[in-house]
């Protein structure tokens, strides 16, 4: 482990974001093209190295506790990194690096790219912070950093649809974060602590229905769940997501669909055990089922490429929440499947958005009606899109199948076969919807004005192909994924170990 690695994982993107305007000024002064772009990529690679250096220690069964300013845990702010956090951190850093490489090519027509990279690195900082922190108010602060930066990123091009989507996300998201703040305030007034491990230890007496749960705790839990579900975009709270993903620049859509999905799911996985420890399985399962069905049915009739992908994000996140919910109802396979699906989905959904972005970059259109026959012009993009759409529909040799199959088994294991049936049906509808997308964009008649379209730039193709290779590799060797997800699921359930490590200061 690199010394000081936990804090460096947050500090490297944060201070790179601070330095970015200066680099923008310098590069303008000395006429260095693309200095900002490569600095952002370098910052992300640095973050990835720092995070990866922590992984062996954590998978060795240790929980890294980092104390700010040497104040010990219940009083000071601390970072606590267990196997669940490290899975999420690795995903954020890895996918974030690929998205940055993609945006080097995608954003090259925009002006003020230094501001774009500042905001993107701030989003990465916020995500890193939310998953590494061991203090619940610190979590709120990082959540707000991430949210405010992403509102600005969505409206980055300042066109009418971007502004509208940014406004909608801002109001709905701020309502959600103020719910989280109110929940934290209630929790603090009831327990008198903000440390997650300390809260978990003090609230443990309400686990297992030994004592009646006080009303303020119920209100706090409901507010927290609502706030998190707005970030995850489960169905009654999902409405910001399609607008935002449609209107944002595609690099931002990929950033929000891949890495940023992690934050919400991390808290969904953490929530049933820490800090509340109250049963939320029924809520998770019902919200997951609802999102799966509504998401896929809405996606079937979309005319817009990115909007269809956005509705599939909702549907696939439903699978994850469903799997984790089944995990709290007594099915280990379900929870593992949920976390595994998060890993797979982040990879292939980022890739699919990148394909849509490549098409949009070359043709200037994201409507199905105006596209067609691009398979001859952009064969590699078509190939990656095909791999992605087969993966998301759960076709066997690819990674989506493994995780979906695990969730199906989890449904049977938890004694709810009806859930499995619905999940299989939704998967079939997903395939139908992607069939439509592939045939409308890459097959069929090619309109005359698209005759001279070229293949996407190499810098865009590189992350897409890398992700496609990862999809196939995980599909062929699922043990690779389970080696990451298994410890993560065990760590999420092992709240006593977490509390012992943090409070006991082992």
């Amino acid at each position: 482990m690199i010394p000081q690695a936990p804090i460096l994982a947050i500090v490297v993107p944060l201070f790179s974001a601070f330095l970015m305007p200066m680099i923008g000024l310098l590069s303008k002064r000395y006429n260095i093209d693309r200095a900002c772009d490569w600095f952002a990529v370098a910052a992300m690679v640095g973050t990835l190295i720092v995070v990866a250096s922590m992984a062996p220690t954590v998978w060795g069964g240790q929980i890294i506790v980092y104390k700010f300013g040497d104040w010990s845990p219940p009083w000071g702010i601390n970072l606590a990194i267990d196997a669940l956090s490290i899975q999420m951190a690795l995903m954020i850093a890895g996918l974030g690096t690929l998205v940055m490489v993609y945006s080097v090519a995608y954003m090259q027509r925009d002006s003020r790219r230094d501001l774009f990279y500042t905001l993107a690195l701030l989003v990465i900082t916020g995500m890193m912070g939310t998953i590494l922190t061991g203090d619940i108010f610190n979590f709120y602060v990082f959540l707000e950093i991430m949210s405010v930066a992403s509102y600005a990123l969505i409206a980055f091009r300042r066109d009418s649809s971007g502004i509208e989507a940014g406004l909608k996300y801002l109001f709905i998201g701020s309502l959600g974060t103020s719910f989280v703040l109110l929940s934290i305030a209630m929790l603090y007034s009831f327990v008198g602590s903000l440390n997650i491990a300390d809260l978990g230890a003090k609230l443990a007496i309400y686990r297992g229905a030994a004592q009646p749960v006080p009303t303020i705790l119920v209100a706090s839990l409901a507010l927290f769940v609502t706030g998190i579900m707005i970030k995850v975009a489960m169905v009654p709270f999902h409405i910001w997501l399609p607008d935002a993903f449609t209107a944002a620049p595609t690099a931002v859509s990929a950033l929000l669909a891949g890495p940023a999905a992690v934050v919400g799911i991390y808290w969904v996985a953490r929530l049933p055990y820490l800090p509340f420890g109250l049963p939320v399985g029924i809520i998770l399962v019902s919200l997951g089922l609802l999102s799966m069905i509504v998401g896929v049915l809405m996606a079937l009739t979309q005319r817009d490429f990115k909007r269809m992908l956005a509705y599939h994000v909702i549907s696939q996140k439903g699978y994850m929440v469903l799997g984790i919910g089944l995990g709290t109802l007594g099915s280990v396979l379900g929870a593992q499947g949920g976390l595994f699906h998060l890993l797979n989905h982040s990879i292939y959904k980022s890739m699919l958005f990148m394909c849509a972005g490549a098409v949009l970059y070359r043709t200037g259109s994201q409507k199905f009606e105006e596209l067609g026959g691009l398979g001859k012009n952009m064969p590699l993009t078509a190939l990656t899109f095909l791999i992605g759409s087969l993966a998301i529909s759960g076709i066997p040799p690819l990674n989506g199948f493994v995780s979906k199959y695990t969730i199906y088994l989890g449904g049977i294991e938890a004694g709810l076969p009806i859930v499995t049936i619905i999940a299989v049906l939704v998967s079939a509808l997903t395939f139908a919807s992607f069939f439509k997308a592939f045939s409308s964009v890459f097959l069929g008649q090619r309109p005359k004005h698209l005759r001279d379209i070229q293949e996407a730039p190499k810098l865009m193709l590189f992350p897409m192909l890398a992700m496609a290779v990862v999809c196939i590799v995980i599909g062929l060797f699922p043990a690779l994924g389970f080696n990451v997800v298994g410890p993560a699921q065990a760590a999420a359930e092992n709240s006593a170990g977490y509390i012992g490590h943090v409070i006991g200061g082992i």
Partner: protein, 119 residues
């Protein structure tokens, strides 16, 4: 003391009402701020104790630390509120600038008319 909590809840409810039923983006932003201020009031009154003193360590208080600790109000909620106020400023500034752009593009501040993205 319980009056504080009543007013805090009243502010939160008022903010929520404003957010749900007003048809002007500026009023929605005001509603959001009022709601957050209600939460801040809730936090601040939680750390308050009747007849408490400011939790600032000075020369006098170090001589009698137990007395100081038993009378000082809880400083943590104040720190939380300070942080939260700063965050709220960011959100308000962001919302106002987005509203300016929305007005330029749509010519209105009515959220029911800013709806080019739907279904």
């Amino acid at each position: 003391m319980s009056l504080n909590y009543v007013i805090a809840m009243l502010l939160i409810t008022l903010g929520l009402y404003c957010l749900l039923f007003k048809r002007n983006l500026i009023k929605l932003i005001i509603g959001l701020s009022v709601m957050t201020d209600g939460i801040h009031l809730f936090l601040i009154s939680m750390g308050y104790r009747t007849g408490g003193i400011a939790p600032i360590v000075t020369g006098e208080s170090t001589s009698n630390l137990p007395n100081f600790a038993s009378r000082a109000v809880d400083p943590l909620p104040q720190a939380l509120v300070l942080t939260s106020i700063v965050i709220n400023i960011c959100i308000t500034a962001m919302a106002l600038s987005l509203s300016i752009y929305a007005y330029r593009h749509y010519g209105t501040l009515d959220p029911s008319k800013i709806r080019r993205l739907s279904e």
